[in-house]
């Protein structure tokens, strides 16, 4: 008879898991990013002109997502695959917990102006950026997952000034005002896709045999 799997894994391993994924450093990076965003918001007097927030509402989520994507790296994927417990809940919890922490801290960094470039836009951009990073980790490995995120969001930031129309609202979702539904849809879609890809497949093994 096979034994039932207990509802919870033994507690002693969670701290080891957190360290193996460099979670303390990742959390510190997320808090630092939020602090930087808050300082920028204050020094740019962005509370008077919300459009001055556009650079860091677009770029702070990019930094946070890069840190989250890199934390998905497994040093020993071959041994992790022999775990008794299915890996997907752990992977999903890891991604969601870090995303939630980044969402809360970044939202708090840009108070007010919810209708333009405030907390809503910041959270939407974070979700989209994390989605790209998680999907990239599954496709090319976690260590390089920051690259597609940075490339896409930087390109959107540079190109969106000249773009207009319905299509631009979709592909340049990171540059739209917070409540814009046509910008939320692609960001949420990318996040769900990235989270599912990562939960199911995990980060692609790097320097490992197929």
């Amino acid at each position: 008879m096979s034994r039932r799997i207990p509802a919870y894994a033994p507690a002693y391993g969670y701290a080891l898991y957190a360290r193996s994924r460099a979670l303390p450093l990742t959390v510190a990076t997320l808090l630092g990013t939020a602090l930087l965003a808050a300082v920028c918001a204050h020094h740019l007097n962005a509370y008077l002109d919300p459009y001055q927030r556009v650079p860091f509402v677009a770029l702070a989520p990019m930094l946070a997502a890069s840190a989250i994507g890199t934390s998905l790296h497994q040093h020993s994927p071959e041994l992790d695959r022999t775990a008794v417990r299915p890996a997907w809940p752990r992977r999903l919890a890891h991604l969601l917990a870090l995303t939630a922490l980044a969402a809360v801290t970044l939202a708090l960094a840009v108070p007010g102006h919810v209708e333009t470039f405030g907390a809503l836009a910041m959270v939407r951009n974070l979700l989209g950026a994390v989605g790209i990073a998680a999907a990239s980790a599954a496709a090319i490995g976690a260590r390089l997952s920051w690259l597609p995120t940075v490339t896409y969001l930087s390109a959107v930031y540079l190109a969106s000034g000249a773009a207009s129309g319905r299509a631009a609202t979709v592909w340049a979702w990171a540059m739209q005002p917070g409540p814009e539904p046509a910008a939320w849809a692609p960001a949420a879609g990318v996040f769900v896709t990235g989270a599912v890809l990562h939960a199911v497949h995990g980060a692609r093994a790097e320097n490992q045999r197929a």
């Binding site: 507690a11 020993s76 071959e78 041994l79 197929a210």
Partner: protein, 267 residues
Amino acid sequence: MISTDTTSAVRVGGLTVRHRRTVALDGVDLDFRPGVHGLLGPNGAGKTSLIRVLATVARADGGRVELLGHDLSGHRELAAARRRLGYLPQDFGYYPGFTVREFVAYVAWLKEMPGARAGAAVERAVARVGLADRIDAKVKTLSGGMVRRVGIAQAIVNDPAVLLLDEPTAGLDPEQRVEFRSLLRELGSQATVIVSTHLVEDVAAACTEVTLIESGRVAYRGTPASLAELGAQADGAGIGGNSIERGYTIALRAHRAGTASTAGVRR
């Protein structure tokens, strides 16, 4: 066909593994009882593919795998088998900040060992590979041979009933190899140990059975003694090396000749 022998801890039937267009294992039938089994074969023969499927980290493209009576079809069966499985991959990687104790404890956690037992099990496993005095050293500060021994420690931390070791002696110096073979014999008295190796000395000194794999097929099965006997028959045939190495060469060539003649008939 899977054998009906119920004492086998590991049984595979018609096992096929493909890597893109290459066939790594071609309908392999094997069974392994408790003891130390040496897997020999040239590079790319399919040894690592077999070990990875048995370790449940790679999927077979065809055939059936049964571990410790579990056919691995459902998650519960897979979990039950993994609990009693130990695995040392060729490249196992390690978390740079971990000490030996932490790394082995991490694997014990992956195996769902209860906390009350895990601490003592970690210390015992590390002591068995001769690293008790380095248990609180960071893994990244150890030599290559010591890191390999840490890999062996993590593989045996849960006292596995099936232990899969892929090139375990790579990087060990001669003294460490001798000690490791002694550990293998000790482990093989209770568990089914499958060792993939290039070194026939490992097979001669520690294995109770030998399986020779070539081009994804089983080329020879026997004991180190029977392989040596095969080699002894070739004395004077111009094949160098000791009797087991000669036996290995003869078995491999006979298999290749057989495969070629079968292919010729098919044409």
